[in-house]
Amino acid sequence: MKKRSVVFFCVLLGIMFMALLVTGGCAKKQVQAPTAEVTETASEDAQAQAALQTAQKAAAESMTEGQAKPAAEAAARPVEAAGEAKAAAAEKAAEKADEKAAEKAEFRDINFDFDKATLRADARAILKEHAAWLKRNTAARLLIEGHCDERGTSEYNLALGERRAAAAMKYLVELGVAKDRIKTVSYGKERPLDPGHNEEAWAKNRRCHFVLSD
Protein backbone atom coordinates (compact mmCIF):
# COMPACT_ATOMS: atom_id res chain seq x y z
CA MET A 1 0.00 0.00 0.00
CA LYS A 2 2.72 2.43 1.03
CA LYS A 3 4.93 1.41 -1.91
CA ARG A 4 2.06 1.95 -4.30
CA SER A 5 1.41 5.42 -3.04
CA VAL A 6 5.10 6.29 -3.29
CA VAL A 7 5.18 5.09 -6.91
CA PHE A 8 1.97 7.00 -7.60
CA PHE A 9 3.46 10.12 -6.06
CA CYS A 10 6.59 9.82 -8.21
CA VAL A 11 4.52 9.39 -11.37
CA LEU A 12 2.40 12.36 -10.34
CA LEU A 13 5.51 14.47 -9.79
CA GLY A 14 6.75 13.49 -13.24
CA ILE A 15 3.46 14.45 -14.85
CA MET A 16 3.38 17.73 -12.98
CA PHE A 17 6.93 18.58 -14.11
CA MET A 18 6.05 17.86 -17.71
CA ALA A 19 2.91 19.91 -17.35
CA LEU A 20 5.03 22.78 -16.04
CA LEU A 21 7.25 22.67 -19.10
CA VAL A 22 4.43 22.45 -21.61
CA THR A 23 2.18 25.11 -20.13
CA GLY A 24 4.85 27.56 -19.14
CA GLY A 25 4.40 27.11 -15.44
CA CYS A 26 0.66 27.42 -15.06
CA ALA A 27 -0.10 24.83 -12.45
CA LYS A 28 -3.85 25.30 -12.81
CA LYS A 29 -3.79 23.70 -16.24
CA GLN A 30 -4.03 19.97 -16.10
CA VAL A 31 -2.59 17.92 -18.89
CA GLN A 32 -3.59 14.42 -19.77
CA ALA A 33 -0.91 13.75 -22.35
CA PRO A 34 -1.64 10.85 -24.68
CA THR A 35 1.35 8.51 -25.16
CA ALA A 36 2.20 9.87 -28.62
CA GLU A 37 2.98 13.24 -27.13
CA VAL A 38 5.12 11.94 -24.30
CA THR A 39 8.20 11.69 -26.55
CA GLU A 40 7.60 15.26 -27.71
CA THR A 41 7.42 16.42 -24.12
CA ALA A 42 10.56 14.43 -23.38
CA SER A 43 12.44 16.22 -26.13
CA GLU A 44 11.33 19.53 -24.66
CA ASP A 45 12.60 18.25 -21.37
CA ALA A 46 15.98 17.69 -23.07
CA GLN A 47 15.84 21.24 -24.36
CA ALA A 48 15.22 22.45 -20.88
CA GLN A 49 18.15 20.45 -19.59
CA ALA A 50 20.36 21.94 -22.28
CA ALA A 51 19.23 25.43 -21.39
CA LEU A 52 19.92 24.68 -17.77
CA GLN A 53 23.43 23.56 -18.56
CA THR A 54 24.02 26.73 -20.59
CA ALA A 55 22.83 28.80 -17.69
CA GLN A 56 25.11 26.96 -15.30
CA LYS A 57 28.02 27.37 -17.67
CA ALA A 58 27.32 31.07 -17.91
CA ALA A 59 27.25 31.29 -14.16
CA ALA A 60 30.61 29.54 -13.96
CA GLU A 61 32.08 31.86 -16.62
CA SER A 62 30.85 34.93 -14.81
CA MET A 63 32.86 33.77 -11.82
CA THR A 64 36.11 33.59 -13.79
CA GLU A 65 35.43 37.07 -15.13
CA GLY A 66 35.72 38.34 -11.58
CA GLN A 67 32.07 39.19 -10.90
CA ALA A 68 32.47 37.39 -7.64
CA LYS A 69 29.51 38.72 -5.66
CA PRO A 70 26.52 37.64 -7.77
CA ALA A 71 28.29 34.43 -8.65
CA ALA A 72 28.87 33.66 -5.00
CA GLU A 73 25.22 34.34 -4.28
CA ALA A 74 24.25 32.05 -7.10
CA ALA A 75 26.57 29.39 -5.71
CA ALA A 76 25.08 29.84 -2.27
CA ARG A 77 21.62 29.23 -3.74
CA PRO A 78 22.28 26.50 -6.26
CA VAL A 79 18.75 25.16 -6.04
CA GLU A 80 17.17 28.55 -6.71
CA ALA A 81 19.57 29.26 -9.53
CA ALA A 82 18.75 25.95 -11.13
CA GLY A 83 15.07 26.65 -10.63
CA GLU A 84 15.34 30.02 -12.34
CA ALA A 85 17.26 28.52 -15.22
CA LYS A 86 14.67 25.78 -15.56
CA ALA A 87 11.82 28.29 -15.54
CA ALA A 88 13.55 30.35 -18.21
CA ALA A 89 14.10 27.25 -20.31
CA ALA A 90 10.52 26.15 -19.77
CA GLU A 91 9.30 29.53 -20.99
CA LYS A 92 11.27 29.16 -24.19
CA ALA A 93 10.06 25.62 -24.64
CA ALA A 94 6.49 26.75 -24.08
CA GLU A 95 6.82 29.47 -26.74
CA LYS A 96 7.96 26.90 -29.25
CA ALA A 97 5.25 24.50 -28.15
CA ASP A 98 2.58 27.15 -28.68
CA GLU A 99 2.55 26.55 -32.41
CA LYS A 100 1.67 22.92 -31.79
CA ALA A 101 -0.70 23.67 -28.91
CA ALA A 102 -3.74 22.64 -30.89
CA GLU A 103 -2.59 19.05 -30.81
CA LYS A 104 -2.06 19.00 -27.06
CA ALA A 105 -4.66 17.48 -24.80
CA GLU A 106 -4.74 20.58 -22.69
CA PHE A 107 -8.13 20.23 -21.05
CA ARG A 108 -8.42 23.35 -18.98
CA ASP A 109 -11.13 23.60 -16.30
CA ILE A 110 -14.13 25.78 -16.97
CA ASN A 111 -15.52 28.01 -14.21
CA PHE A 112 -18.98 29.11 -13.15
CA ASP A 113 -20.72 31.90 -11.26
CA PHE A 114 -22.02 31.29 -7.73
CA ASP A 115 -25.07 29.00 -7.62
CA LYS A 116 -25.15 28.87 -11.44
CA ALA A 117 -24.72 26.04 -13.91
CA THR A 118 -24.98 28.21 -17.03
CA LEU A 119 -21.94 28.28 -19.31
CA ARG A 120 -20.17 31.64 -19.39
CA ALA A 121 -18.57 32.91 -22.64
CA ASP A 122 -15.09 31.96 -21.40
CA ALA A 123 -16.32 28.46 -20.59
CA ARG A 124 -17.85 28.07 -24.04
CA ALA A 125 -14.60 29.16 -25.67
CA ILE A 126 -12.66 26.55 -23.71
CA LEU A 127 -15.24 23.86 -24.48
CA LYS A 128 -14.90 24.65 -28.19
CA GLU A 129 -11.19 23.80 -27.93
CA HIS A 130 -12.03 20.60 -26.07
CA ALA A 131 -14.61 19.64 -28.69
CA ALA A 132 -12.14 20.26 -31.52
CA TRP A 133 -9.53 18.06 -29.85
CA LEU A 134 -12.06 15.32 -29.13
CA LYS A 135 -13.15 15.31 -32.78
CA ARG A 136 -9.53 14.88 -33.90
CA ASN A 137 -8.79 12.20 -31.30
CA THR A 138 -11.80 9.96 -31.65
CA ALA A 139 -10.48 7.14 -29.46
CA ALA A 140 -10.40 9.29 -26.34
CA ARG A 141 -13.21 9.24 -23.80
CA LEU A 142 -14.01 12.05 -21.43
CA LEU A 143 -15.14 12.20 -17.81
CA ILE A 144 -16.53 15.58 -16.77
CA GLU A 145 -16.40 16.27 -13.02
CA GLY A 146 -18.76 18.94 -11.71
CA HIS A 147 -17.55 20.86 -8.64
CA CYS A 148 -18.83 23.66 -6.41
CA ASP A 149 -17.45 26.07 -3.85
CA GLU A 150 -17.79 25.33 -0.14
CA ARG A 151 -20.80 27.52 0.49
CA GLY A 152 -24.20 25.93 1.00
CA THR A 153 -25.07 22.32 1.74
CA SER A 154 -23.41 19.12 0.56
CA GLU A 155 -26.61 17.87 -1.01
CA TYR A 156 -27.64 20.94 -2.96
CA ASN A 157 -24.08 21.28 -4.20
CA LEU A 158 -24.02 17.65 -5.36
CA ALA A 159 -27.02 18.50 -7.50
CA LEU A 160 -25.49 21.79 -8.66
CA GLY A 161 -22.19 20.09 -9.56
CA GLU A 162 -24.14 17.61 -11.60
CA ARG A 163 -25.91 20.46 -13.40
CA ARG A 164 -22.54 21.97 -14.27
CA ALA A 165 -21.17 18.71 -15.65
CA ALA A 166 -24.41 18.16 -17.57
CA ALA A 167 -24.24 21.67 -19.07
CA ALA A 168 -20.66 21.08 -20.24
CA MET A 169 -21.60 17.70 -21.71
CA LYS A 170 -24.62 19.13 -23.51
CA TYR A 171 -22.50 21.83 -25.13
CA LEU A 172 -19.82 19.35 -26.24
CA VAL A 173 -22.53 17.16 -27.78
CA GLU A 174 -24.00 20.19 -29.56
CA LEU A 175 -20.53 20.83 -30.94
CA GLY A 176 -20.50 17.35 -32.46
CA VAL A 177 -18.86 15.12 -29.87
CA ALA A 178 -20.59 11.74 -29.58
CA LYS A 179 -22.57 11.57 -26.35
CA ASP A 180 -21.48 8.00 -25.59
CA ARG A 181 -17.87 9.17 -25.28
CA ILE A 182 -18.71 11.41 -22.33
CA LYS A 183 -19.55 10.58 -18.74
CA THR A 184 -20.30 12.96 -15.89
CA VAL A 185 -19.89 12.79 -12.13
CA SER A 186 -20.60 15.39 -9.49
CA TYR A 187 -18.39 15.83 -6.46
CA GLY A 188 -20.38 18.80 -5.18
CA LYS A 189 -18.30 20.80 -2.76
CA GLU A 190 -16.41 17.77 -1.48
CA ARG A 191 -13.20 18.11 -3.52
CA PRO A 192 -12.12 21.73 -3.68
CA LEU A 193 -9.15 22.63 -5.89
CA ASP A 194 -8.22 25.47 -3.55
CA PRO A 195 -8.85 24.91 0.18
CA GLY A 196 -9.14 28.66 0.86
CA HIS A 197 -12.21 30.34 2.30
CA ASN A 198 -12.35 33.41 0.07
CA GLU A 199 -13.80 34.50 -3.27
CA GLU A 200 -10.52 33.74 -5.07
CA ALA A 201 -10.62 30.11 -3.90
CA TRP A 202 -14.38 29.81 -4.45
CA ALA A 203 -14.05 31.09 -8.05
CA LYS A 204 -11.50 28.34 -8.79
CA ASN A 205 -13.58 25.68 -7.08
CA ARG A 206 -16.76 26.38 -9.06
CA ARG A 207 -15.60 24.34 -12.01
CA CYS A 208 -15.84 21.44 -14.37
CA HIS A 209 -12.69 19.37 -14.48
CA PHE A 210 -11.98 17.09 -17.45
CA VAL A 211 -10.36 13.68 -17.26
CA LEU A 212 -9.40 11.86 -20.47
CA SER A 213 -9.12 8.12 -20.89
CA ASP A 214 -8.58 5.82 -23.85
Binding site: D115, R151, G152, T153, S154, L158, A159, E190, H197
Partner: protein, 432 residues
Protein backbone atom coordinates in the same frame (compact mmCIF):
# COMPACT_ATOMS: atom_id res chain seq x y z
CA UNK B 1 -47.56 27.00 56.37
CA UNK B 2 -49.14 25.00 53.61
CA UNK B 3 -50.93 28.11 52.35
CA UNK B 4 -47.69 30.04 52.38
CA UNK B 5 -46.00 27.39 50.29
CA UNK B 6 -48.82 27.42 47.81
CA UNK B 7 -48.67 31.17 47.56
CA UNK B 8 -44.89 31.08 47.12
CA UNK B 9 -45.30 28.46 44.43
CA UNK B 10 -47.85 30.57 42.56
CA UNK B 11 -45.63 33.63 42.70
CA UNK B 12 -42.70 31.61 41.48
CA UNK B 13 -44.69 30.27 38.55
CA UNK B 14 -45.76 33.76 37.57
CA UNK B 15 -42.33 35.24 38.05
CA UNK B 16 -40.58 32.66 35.95
CA UNK B 17 -43.46 32.39 33.47
CA UNK B 18 -43.16 28.64 33.50
CA UNK B 19 -46.22 27.39 31.76
CA UNK B 20 -47.49 24.10 33.06
CA UNK B 21 -49.54 21.85 30.90
CA UNK B 22 -51.65 18.91 31.90
CA UNK B 23 -51.02 15.57 30.39
CA UNK B 24 -52.63 12.24 31.03
CA UNK B 25 -50.22 9.49 31.95
CA UNK B 26 -51.38 6.15 33.25
CA UNK B 27 -54.24 6.37 35.74
CA UNK B 28 -53.85 9.85 37.10
CA UNK B 29 -53.09 13.29 35.82
CA UNK B 30 -49.45 14.19 35.73
CA UNK B 31 -48.16 17.71 35.58
CA UNK B 32 -45.12 18.18 33.37
CA UNK B 33 -42.98 21.26 33.19
CA UNK B 34 -43.23 22.91 29.78
CA UNK B 35 -39.55 23.14 28.93
CA UNK B 36 -40.44 24.20 25.39
CA UNK B 37 -41.89 27.53 26.40
CA UNK B 38 -39.87 30.43 24.97
CA UNK B 39 -39.68 32.02 28.43
CA UNK B 40 -38.51 28.82 30.10
CA UNK B 41 -35.59 29.22 32.50
CA UNK B 42 -33.45 26.35 33.70
CA UNK B 43 -34.78 24.41 36.69
CA UNK B 44 -32.56 24.79 39.78
CA UNK B 45 -31.93 21.31 41.13
CA UNK B 46 -29.81 19.98 44.01
CA UNK B 47 -28.23 16.54 43.76
CA UNK B 48 -27.19 15.45 47.26
CA UNK B 49 -24.33 13.05 47.91
CA UNK B 50 -25.73 9.52 47.87
CA UNK B 51 -25.58 7.52 51.08
CA UNK B 52 -23.31 4.48 50.98
CA UNK B 53 -23.75 1.27 52.97
CA UNK B 54 -22.17 1.23 56.42
CA UNK B 55 -20.38 -2.00 55.52
CA UNK B 56 -18.45 -0.27 52.73
CA UNK B 57 -16.61 2.53 54.50
CA UNK B 58 -14.51 3.56 51.49
CA UNK B 59 -17.61 5.15 50.05
CA UNK B 60 -16.31 7.40 47.27
CA UNK B 61 -19.14 6.47 44.88
CA UNK B 62 -21.54 8.81 46.75
CA UNK B 63 -20.09 12.15 45.65
CA UNK B 64 -18.94 10.76 42.26
CA UNK B 65 -22.41 9.47 41.43
CA UNK B 66 -23.93 12.82 42.49
CA UNK B 67 -21.43 14.69 40.32
CA UNK B 68 -22.20 12.52 37.30
CA UNK B 69 -25.98 12.83 37.74
CA UNK B 70 -25.50 16.63 37.93
CA UNK B 71 -23.35 16.60 34.80
CA UNK B 72 -25.96 14.66 32.80
CA UNK B 73 -28.78 16.91 34.05
CA UNK B 74 -26.75 19.96 33.03
CA UNK B 75 -26.24 18.40 29.59
CA UNK B 76 -29.99 18.34 28.95
CA UNK B 77 -29.97 22.13 28.97
CA UNK B 78 -33.10 22.19 31.14
CA UNK B 79 -31.55 22.01 34.60
CA UNK B 80 -29.24 24.19 36.61
CA UNK B 81 -27.55 21.84 39.11
CA UNK B 82 -26.65 23.86 42.20
CA UNK B 83 -23.07 23.66 43.49
CA UNK B 84 -22.67 21.35 46.46
CA UNK B 85 -20.75 23.92 48.49
CA UNK B 86 -23.95 26.00 48.66
CA UNK B 87 -25.89 23.17 50.33
CA UNK B 88 -27.06 23.80 53.91
CA UNK B 89 -27.83 20.17 54.61
CA UNK B 90 -26.40 16.75 53.82
CA UNK B 91 -29.07 14.01 53.77
CA UNK B 92 -26.27 11.40 53.81
CA UNK B 93 -25.38 12.56 57.33
CA UNK B 94 -28.62 14.07 58.62
CA UNK B 95 -30.88 11.15 57.74
CA UNK B 96 -33.89 13.47 57.39
CA UNK B 97 -34.87 15.96 54.71
CA UNK B 98 -35.78 19.51 55.72
CA UNK B 99 -37.21 21.04 52.52
CA UNK B 100 -36.68 24.55 53.86
CA UNK B 101 -32.90 23.92 53.75
CA UNK B 102 -33.24 23.33 50.00
CA UNK B 103 -35.74 26.03 49.11
CA UNK B 104 -33.50 28.48 50.99
CA UNK B 105 -30.71 27.93 48.45
CA UNK B 106 -33.11 28.29 45.53
CA UNK B 107 -33.54 24.62 44.66
CA UNK B 108 -36.87 23.64 43.13
CA UNK B 109 -36.04 19.96 43.12
CA UNK B 110 -33.87 17.69 45.23
CA UNK B 111 -32.33 14.39 44.22
CA UNK B 112 -31.14 12.07 47.01
CA UNK B 113 -30.77 8.37 47.60
CA UNK B 114 -28.51 5.43 48.43
CA UNK B 115 -26.03 3.33 46.51
CA UNK B 116 -24.56 -0.10 47.11
CA UNK B 117 -22.16 -2.46 45.40
CA UNK B 118 -22.79 -6.20 45.47
CA UNK B 119 -22.62 -9.31 43.28
CA UNK B 120 -25.24 -7.84 40.97
CA UNK B 121 -23.20 -4.73 40.20
CA UNK B 122 -23.66 -1.12 41.26
CA UNK B 123 -27.13 -0.47 42.62
CA UNK B 124 -28.94 2.71 43.60
CA UNK B 125 -32.26 3.86 44.99
CA UNK B 126 -32.95 7.44 44.01
CA UNK B 127 -35.74 9.83 45.03
CA UNK B 128 -36.72 13.08 43.35
CA UNK B 129 -38.50 15.66 45.54
CA UNK B 130 -40.40 18.80 44.62
CA UNK B 131 -38.87 21.14 47.21
CA UNK B 132 -41.49 23.83 46.78
CA UNK B 133 -44.41 21.49 47.36
CA UNK B 134 -42.50 19.26 49.77
CA UNK B 135 -43.53 16.17 47.82
CA UNK B 136 -41.75 13.11 46.53
CA UNK B 137 -42.15 13.03 42.74
CA UNK B 138 -40.26 9.90 41.88
CA UNK B 139 -38.57 6.91 43.51
CA UNK B 140 -36.73 4.30 41.52
CA UNK B 141 -34.20 1.51 41.94
CA UNK B 142 -31.47 0.65 39.44
CA UNK B 143 -28.76 -1.96 39.09
CA UNK B 144 -25.89 -1.29 36.70
CA UNK B 145 -24.45 -4.71 35.96
CA UNK B 146 -21.18 -3.36 34.56
CA UNK B 147 -20.58 -1.72 37.94
CA UNK B 148 -19.70 1.56 36.20
CA UNK B 149 -20.89 4.86 37.64
CA UNK B 150 -21.47 6.78 34.39
CA UNK B 151 -24.16 4.57 32.83
CA UNK B 152 -25.94 4.43 36.18
CA UNK B 153 -25.82 8.23 36.45
CA UNK B 154 -27.10 8.49 32.89
CA UNK B 155 -30.10 6.25 33.68
CA UNK B 156 -30.87 8.29 36.80
CA UNK B 157 -30.71 11.58 34.87
CA UNK B 158 -32.91 10.14 32.11
CA UNK B 159 -35.52 9.14 34.70
CA UNK B 160 -35.48 12.58 36.30
CA UNK B 161 -35.88 14.22 32.89
CA UNK B 162 -38.73 11.86 32.05
CA UNK B 163 -40.36 12.35 35.46
CA UNK B 164 -40.44 16.12 35.05
CA UNK B 165 -40.92 16.60 31.32
CA UNK B 166 -42.58 13.39 30.20
CA UNK B 167 -39.72 12.40 27.88
CA UNK B 168 -36.21 11.26 28.74
CA UNK B 169 -35.43 9.15 25.66
CA UNK B 170 -32.80 11.51 24.32
CA UNK B 171 -30.18 9.75 26.46
CA UNK B 172 -30.69 6.61 24.38
CA UNK B 173 -29.96 8.27 21.05
CA UNK B 174 -26.94 8.61 18.79
CA UNK B 175 -25.89 11.09 16.17
CA UNK B 176 -24.49 9.81 12.87
CA UNK B 177 -22.18 12.19 11.05
CA UNK B 178 -19.56 12.43 8.31
CA UNK B 179 -15.83 12.63 8.95
CA UNK B 180 -13.74 13.80 5.99
CA UNK B 181 -10.19 12.61 5.51
CA UNK B 182 -8.61 14.04 2.37
CA UNK B 183 -10.73 13.13 -0.65
CA UNK B 184 -12.59 10.37 1.17
CA UNK B 185 -15.00 10.30 4.10
CA UNK B 186 -16.69 7.79 6.41
CA UNK B 187 -19.76 7.80 8.64
CA UNK B 188 -19.32 7.77 12.42
CA UNK B 189 -21.73 7.78 15.34
CA UNK B 190 -21.50 9.41 18.74
CA UNK B 191 -23.79 9.23 21.78
CA UNK B 192 -25.93 12.21 22.84
CA UNK B 193 -23.47 12.87 25.67
CA UNK B 194 -20.47 12.90 23.31
CA UNK B 195 -19.25 9.44 24.33
CA UNK B 196 -18.61 6.27 22.33
CA UNK B 197 -17.48 7.78 19.03
CA UNK B 198 -17.56 4.85 16.59
CA UNK B 199 -16.77 4.46 12.90
CA UNK B 200 -19.75 2.89 11.15
CA UNK B 201 -18.63 2.56 7.52
CA UNK B 202 -15.48 1.33 5.82
CA UNK B 203 -16.08 2.46 2.25
CA UNK B 204 -12.64 4.03 1.67
CA UNK B 205 -14.34 6.59 -0.58
CA UNK B 206 -16.39 9.75 -0.37
CA UNK B 207 -19.38 8.72 1.79
CA UNK B 208 -22.19 11.12 2.68
CA UNK B 209 -25.76 11.80 3.76
CA UNK B 210 -26.39 9.33 6.63
CA UNK B 211 -30.10 8.79 7.37
CA UNK B 212 -31.64 6.58 10.10
CA UNK B 213 -34.61 4.33 9.51
CA UNK B 214 -37.56 5.07 11.81
CA UNK B 215 -36.73 2.10 14.06
CA UNK B 216 -33.03 2.99 14.23
CA UNK B 217 -32.00 -0.42 12.88
CA UNK B 218 -30.84 0.66 9.45
CA UNK B 219 -28.85 3.55 8.09
CA UNK B 220 -28.88 4.70 4.48
CA UNK B 221 -26.08 6.72 2.93
CA UNK B 222 -24.49 7.61 -0.39
CA UNK B 223 -20.98 6.47 -1.27
CA UNK B 224 -18.61 6.86 -4.24
CA UNK B 225 -17.04 3.47 -3.43
CA UNK B 226 -17.59 2.26 -7.00
CA UNK B 227 -17.01 5.64 -8.66
CA UNK B 228 -20.61 6.84 -8.86
CA UNK B 229 -22.63 8.32 -5.96
CA UNK B 230 -24.62 5.12 -5.22
CA UNK B 231 -27.17 4.47 -2.48
CA UNK B 232 -26.41 1.97 0.30
CA UNK B 233 -28.31 0.67 3.31
CA UNK B 234 -26.46 -0.73 6.31
CA UNK B 235 -28.20 -3.12 8.69
CA UNK B 236 -26.86 -2.02 12.06
CA UNK B 237 -27.60 -5.33 13.75
CA UNK B 238 -25.90 -7.64 11.27
CA UNK B 239 -23.45 -5.06 9.96
CA UNK B 240 -24.32 -6.03 6.37
CA UNK B 241 -24.14 -3.23 3.80
CA UNK B 242 -26.31 -3.51 0.69
CA UNK B 243 -26.19 -1.38 -2.46
CA UNK B 244 -29.80 -0.48 -3.19
CA UNK B 245 -29.44 1.88 -6.15
CA UNK B 246 -26.64 2.52 -8.63
CA UNK B 247 -28.51 4.35 -11.34
CA UNK B 248 -26.44 6.72 -13.50
CA UNK B 249 -25.88 10.05 -11.76
CA UNK B 250 -26.96 10.92 -8.25
CA UNK B 251 -28.44 8.34 -5.86
CA UNK B 252 -28.67 10.60 -2.85
CA UNK B 253 -29.94 9.31 0.49
CA UNK B 254 -32.93 11.38 1.60
CA UNK B 255 -35.38 10.56 4.41
CA UNK B 256 -37.02 7.37 5.76
CA UNK B 257 -40.81 7.41 6.06
CA UNK B 258 -42.20 7.24 9.61
CA UNK B 259 -43.59 3.75 8.85
CA UNK B 260 -40.11 2.60 7.78
CA UNK B 261 -41.30 1.29 4.40
CA UNK B 262 -40.14 4.00 2.05
CA UNK B 263 -36.98 5.99 1.57
CA UNK B 264 -36.93 9.33 -0.23
CA UNK B 265 -34.01 9.54 -2.65
CA UNK B 266 -32.76 12.22 -5.02
CA UNK B 267 -31.85 10.70 -8.38
CA UNK B 268 -30.88 12.12 -11.76
CA UNK B 269 -31.08 9.13 -14.13
CA UNK B 270 -34.08 10.66 -15.92
CA UNK B 271 -32.11 13.75 -16.87
CA UNK B 272 -32.24 16.03 -13.88
CA UNK B 273 -32.43 15.83 -10.10
CA UNK B 274 -35.84 14.61 -8.98
CA UNK B 275 -37.17 13.23 -5.70
CA UNK B 276 -38.38 9.62 -5.65
CA UNK B 277 -39.94 7.44 -2.98
CA UNK B 278 -38.29 4.03 -2.97
CA UNK B 279 -40.21 1.08 -1.54
CA UNK B 280 -37.45 -0.57 0.49
CA UNK B 281 -38.81 -4.13 0.24
CA UNK B 282 -39.31 -4.16 -3.54
CA UNK B 283 -36.96 -1.37 -4.63
CA UNK B 284 -39.80 0.10 -6.70
CA UNK B 285 -39.59 3.85 -7.36
CA UNK B 286 -42.35 6.44 -7.39
CA UNK B 287 -41.36 9.79 -8.85
CA UNK B 288 -42.64 12.70 -6.76
CA UNK B 289 -41.26 15.85 -8.41
CA UNK B 290 -41.57 16.90 -12.04
CA UNK B 291 -39.55 20.02 -12.63
CA UNK B 292 -36.54 20.87 -14.77
CA UNK B 293 -34.93 22.60 -11.76
CA UNK B 294 -32.92 20.96 -8.98
CA UNK B 295 -35.14 19.12 -6.48
CA UNK B 296 -33.19 17.72 -3.52
CA UNK B 297 -33.00 17.18 0.29
CA UNK B 298 -36.47 15.75 1.04
CA UNK B 299 -37.71 15.32 4.65
CA UNK B 300 -40.95 13.65 5.79
CA UNK B 301 -43.45 15.28 8.11
CA UNK B 302 -43.84 13.06 11.21
CA UNK B 303 -47.33 11.93 10.12
CA UNK B 304 -45.94 10.84 6.74
CA UNK B 305 -48.48 12.95 4.88
CA UNK B 306 -46.22 15.70 3.61
CA UNK B 307 -42.64 16.24 2.43
CA UNK B 308 -40.48 19.35 2.65
CA UNK B 309 -37.66 19.67 0.11
CA UNK B 310 -35.29 22.09 -1.63
CA UNK B 311 -35.82 23.35 -5.16
CA UNK B 312 -34.24 26.12 -7.18
CA UNK B 313 -37.25 26.34 -9.54
CA UNK B 314 -37.67 29.99 -8.55
CA UNK B 315 -34.05 30.74 -9.50
CA UNK B 316 -32.47 30.23 -6.08
CA UNK B 317 -32.63 27.33 -3.61
CA UNK B 318 -35.75 27.61 -1.44
CA UNK B 319 -37.74 25.29 0.83
CA UNK B 320 -40.97 23.82 -0.61
CA UNK B 321 -43.64 21.58 0.86
CA UNK B 322 -45.70 18.99 -1.04
CA UNK B 323 -48.10 16.17 -0.25
CA UNK B 324 -46.59 12.69 0.06
CA UNK B 325 -47.77 11.83 -3.48
CA UNK B 326 -46.03 14.88 -4.95
CA UNK B 327 -49.14 17.03 -5.31
CA UNK B 328 -49.95 20.47 -3.82
CA UNK B 329 -46.44 21.89 -4.10
CA UNK B 330 -46.09 25.16 -2.20
CA UNK B 331 -43.11 27.42 -1.61
CA UNK B 332 -42.37 27.91 2.10
CA UNK B 333 -39.44 30.35 2.32
CA UNK B 334 -39.38 33.79 0.74
CA UNK B 335 -36.66 35.50 2.76
CA UNK B 336 -33.08 35.26 1.52
CA UNK B 337 -31.67 33.74 -1.67
CA UNK B 338 -30.21 30.48 -0.36
CA UNK B 339 -32.37 28.27 1.87
CA UNK B 340 -31.55 24.55 2.11
CA UNK B 341 -31.40 21.46 4.41
CA UNK B 342 -34.98 21.30 5.72
CA UNK B 343 -35.63 19.04 8.73
CA UNK B 344 -39.22 18.52 9.86
CA UNK B 345 -39.59 18.46 13.65
CA UNK B 346 -40.79 15.12 15.07
CA UNK B 347 -43.55 17.16 16.75
CA UNK B 348 -44.65 18.40 13.35
CA UNK B 349 -44.90 22.07 14.31
CA UNK B 350 -41.59 23.41 12.94
CA UNK B 351 -39.28 22.96 10.00
CA UNK B 352 -35.62 23.74 10.67
CA UNK B 353 -33.42 24.75 7.75
CA UNK B 354 -30.26 26.66 6.97
CA UNK B 355 -30.42 30.02 5.28
CA UNK B 356 -27.83 32.52 4.13
CA UNK B 357 -28.02 35.84 5.91
CA UNK B 358 -25.42 38.59 5.37
CA UNK B 359 -23.16 36.05 3.65
CA UNK B 360 -23.22 33.57 6.54
CA UNK B 361 -25.24 30.35 6.86
CA UNK B 362 -27.41 30.09 9.98
CA UNK B 363 -30.20 27.86 11.22
CA UNK B 364 -33.81 29.06 11.08
CA UNK B 365 -37.14 27.65 12.23
CA UNK B 366 -40.35 28.16 10.29
CA UNK B 367 -43.88 26.85 10.72
CA UNK B 368 -45.04 24.39 8.04
CA UNK B 369 -47.55 27.02 6.89
CA UNK B 370 -44.75 29.52 6.28
CA UNK B 371 -45.39 31.73 9.31
CA UNK B 372 -43.03 32.63 12.18
CA UNK B 373 -39.72 32.46 10.34
CA UNK B 374 -37.05 32.83 13.06
CA UNK B 375 -33.24 32.72 13.07
CA UNK B 376 -31.93 30.71 16.04
CA UNK B 377 -28.14 30.75 15.57
CA UNK B 378 -25.55 33.45 14.93
CA UNK B 379 -21.77 33.90 14.79
CA UNK B 380 -19.80 31.15 12.98
CA UNK B 381 -21.74 29.23 10.34
CA UNK B 382 -24.37 26.81 11.66
CA UNK B 383 -25.63 24.25 9.16
CA UNK B 384 -27.38 20.91 8.60
CA UNK B 385 -30.01 20.95 11.38
CA UNK B 386 -31.24 17.53 12.53
CA UNK B 387 -33.90 17.06 15.23
CA UNK B 388 -33.67 14.83 18.29
CA UNK B 389 -36.58 12.33 18.32
CA UNK B 390 -38.31 14.26 21.15
CA UNK B 391 -38.11 17.45 19.07
CA UNK B 392 -36.38 19.31 21.91
CA UNK B 393 -32.87 19.51 20.50
CA UNK B 394 -31.15 20.13 17.20
CA UNK B 395 -27.83 18.70 16.09
CA UNK B 396 -25.93 20.87 13.64
CA UNK B 397 -22.53 21.52 12.09
CA UNK B 398 -20.61 24.61 13.18
CA UNK B 399 -18.17 25.54 10.43
CA UNK B 400 -15.24 27.86 10.77
CA UNK B 401 -11.89 28.04 8.95
CA UNK B 402 -10.52 25.89 11.80
CA UNK B 403 -12.82 23.02 10.90
CA UNK B 404 -16.27 21.55 11.29
CA UNK B 405 -17.78 20.37 14.59
CA UNK B 406 -20.97 18.54 15.43
CA UNK B 407 -22.93 20.49 18.02
CA UNK B 408 -26.14 19.97 19.95
CA UNK B 409 -28.42 22.75 21.17
CA UNK B 410 -31.86 23.20 22.62
CA UNK B 411 -34.44 23.85 19.93
CA UNK B 412 -34.52 27.56 20.79
CA UNK B 413 -30.81 27.88 19.92
CA UNK B 414 -29.48 27.98 23.49
CA UNK B 415 -27.18 25.65 25.43
CA UNK B 416 -24.79 24.78 22.59
CA UNK B 417 -22.53 21.82 23.35
CA UNK B 418 -20.07 20.14 20.95
CA UNK B 419 -19.93 16.37 20.73
CA UNK B 420 -17.52 15.51 17.87
CA UNK B 421 -15.45 16.76 14.94
CA UNK B 422 -17.33 16.25 11.68
CA UNK B 423 -20.24 17.42 9.55
CA UNK B 424 -23.74 16.50 8.28
CA UNK B 425 -25.28 15.15 11.52
CA UNK B 426 -28.31 12.86 11.55
CA UNK B 427 -29.97 12.27 14.91
CA UNK B 428 -31.15 8.71 15.51
CA UNK B 429 -34.53 7.68 16.87
CA UNK B 430 -34.55 6.30 20.43
CA UNK B 431 -32.53 3.09 20.21
CA UNK B 432 -33.98 0.49 22.59
Amino acid sequence: MNMNRRFAFTVLVLALSIAVRLSVAGEGERVFIDIDSPSFTKIPIAVAVFRGPATQPRADEGPYLADEVSRYLDMTGFFHPLPRRAFLADPAKDGVIAFSDWSAIGAEYLVEGEWQRDGEGLGAVVRLHDVVKGEKVLEKRWTERSGAVKPLARSIAASILKGLTGDGGVFDTKIAFVVKRGTSSEIFTVDFDGGQETRLTDMKALTLAPRWSADGRRLSFTSYRDGNPDLFVKDLKTGATRKVSARPGLNLSGSWSPDGKRLLVTMSFEGNEEIYAMDIASGRLTRLTHDTAIDVSPTWSPDGKRIAFVSNRSGSPQIYVMDADGSSVRRLTFEGTYNTSPAWSPRGDKIAYEGRIAGSFQIFLINPDGTENRQITKGVEHKYPSWSPDGRYLAFTAESPRGAKIGVMNANGTNIRFVADGTNPAWSPVIP
